[in-house]
Structure formats: structure tokens, C-alpha cells
């Protein structure tokens, strides 16, 4: 039994057509830093495409890597959901496929340095009957209307790691 981890970097993500988290590239001191910019007031969304090769069973874990644009304190709330299609088996129209129920996760800015890198997990237990080899779209949204999301300014997501068991 092993855990398969699939990294998906910000540059691979697709901003939503409406209220999409925008791609951003910061020319850092020594190297460029790409991210997806999730606004502090408006709930914004991005999509991460992934093939769940070797999926066995159980929940998926989405590990979100992010840093704060300007804040040095506060909480961020993100929602994660998946839409899974089995090629050659599902008769579902790819372009009208719906998402399973969203699951929320909260992270807290650790302080000390404003733009430090954070990671937190969202356990996706709404699995949309996902099977090995499925074409999955992971939807990630910052839930700014949630009272717990009190961090000021943008949350910049740099990557997502989707993890699952192979048995």
C-alpha cells in the first residue's frame, strides 16, 4: 500500500471565466515566483486538471501551498471539489459534467514573515465515484464570504498536491 502524490503547479491551473483567480508572476529577488491570486474580498476560483492514475480507494487529500500577498496574520478558507470522468465508460458529456459537493478547509497565517510559504490539507470525501485513471478536474475557491476567512489581501496559491491511496 502506497500513497500517490500528484503535484499541480499554479501555472497549470485554469482561472474561472467569471471571478477567476488570476495568474501572477512576481519577479523575486533571485527567481520568478508564479502563483494564482485569490482576492481578499471576492470569492475567486481556479481549476486544476489531473489524471488520478493508480487510484485505489479512499478519500483524496488536496494539499494547498500558498503565501500571503500583504497580510501577516489571519485565516483563509478554501473550498475544494472534484468532477471525475471515466474515459470510454462514462457517457457523461465532458462539457456539462457537474462537481461533487465542495469541502472546506481553513489555514492560519503563521506570522513572523508575511510572505512565508504555508501548506494545509483539505480532505476530499465527496469523491464523485472516482476510479483509477479518471480525468479529474479539481476546483479550488477561496471562500471570502465565510466569516472565518479574515486574512486581509490576496492569498497566493503556488501549488496543489493531490494525494490518494493506490489500494
Amino acid at each position: 500500500m502506497a500513497t500517490i502524490r500528484v503535484p499541480i503547479f499554479a501555472r497549470e491551473a485554469i482561472p474561472a471565466a467569471t471571478n477567476g483567480a488570476q495568474h501572477r508572476m512576481v519577479e523575486g529577488t533571485n527567481y520568478p515566483v508564479p502563483s494564482l491570486e485569490f482576492d481578499g474580498s471576492t470569492s475567486e476560483t481556479a481549476y486544476f486538471p489531473v489524471l488520478v492514475l493508480g487510484y485505489g480507494s479512499g478519500n483524496l487529500t488536496a494539499t494547498i501551498g500558498w503565501y500571503a500577498d500583504t497580510a501577516s496574520t489571519g485565516n483563509v478558507v478554501f473550498g475544494a471539489s472534484i468532477a471525475a470522468i471515466t474515459p470510454n465508460t462514462d457517457t457523461q458529456d465532458v462539457e456539462t459534467k457537474a462537481f461533487a459537493t465542495e469541502v472546506l478547509g481553513t489555514d492560519t497565517h503563521l506570522g513572523t514573515t508575511g510572505q512565508r510559504l504555508h501548506e494545509f490539507d483539505i480532505t476530499i470525501n465527496q469523491l464523485d465515484s472516482v476510479a483509477s485513471g479518471d480525468a479529474v478536474m479539481l476546483r479550488l475557491a477561496r471562500k471570502t464570504a465565510d466569516a472565518s476567512d479574515d486574512m486581509a489581501g490576496n492569498a497566493l496559491v503556488t501549488y496543489v498536491i493531490l494525494a490518494y491511496s493506490d489500494t
Binding site: S41, T42, T70, A71, S72, G74, D150, A152
Partner: protein
């Protein structure tokens, strides 16, 4: 003039967070309280501020022009790069 609506105050919060480039240790609820307090103070003291403006400018300038001058003074005094 009454205090700003809750919607207008929220718009200020949104716009300020997008405009701000400096590190901010204040969370959104406390920023909202700041905006509300300042708006309340401005509303309570608007007549006094207006009375400070000497004539004939006080009669000649519109409300919008007076507020623009006031805003420019604050920016020149307190904002970086001014």
C-alpha cells in the same frame, strides 16, 4: 449627509486591500471597524471641518472639491512617496 452604507464601506475595504502593497497585520474585521470608525468621525465632524475653510472659498467650492483638497492634504502628509 448620513454615514456610508454597509455596502459602500465594504467597497472601501475591497478597494483598499487591492491597493495596499505594504505588509498588514490587521485582519478584515478590524479593517472594517477602522473604516466604520473613520466614517462615523467624518460624519460627526463634517460641519466643523467645513467651518474651518475660510470664506469666500467655503461658499465657492463644491462639497466634492473640498473633499478632494482634504484628501490631497492627507496624502501629502501621511502617504509614502509623497
Amino acid at each position: 449627509m448620513a454615514v456610508l452604507t454597509a455596502e459602500a464601506r465594504e467597497e472601501i475595504l475591497t478597494e483598499w486591500m487591492r491597493f495596499n502593497q505594504d505588509t498588514c497585520a490587521t485582519i478584515k474585521p478590524d479593517l472594517r471597524a477602522t473604516i466604520a470608525a473613520l466614517d462615523d468621525w467624518i460624519n460627526a465632524n463634517a460641519a466643523a471641518v467645513n467651518a474651518t475653510i475660510p470664506q469666500p472659498a467655503r461658499a465657492q467650492l463644491s462639497q466634492s472639491q473640498k473633499s478632494s483638497i482634504y484628501t490631497n492634504i492627507l496624502a501629502k502628509r501621511y502617504q509614502k512617496g509623497q
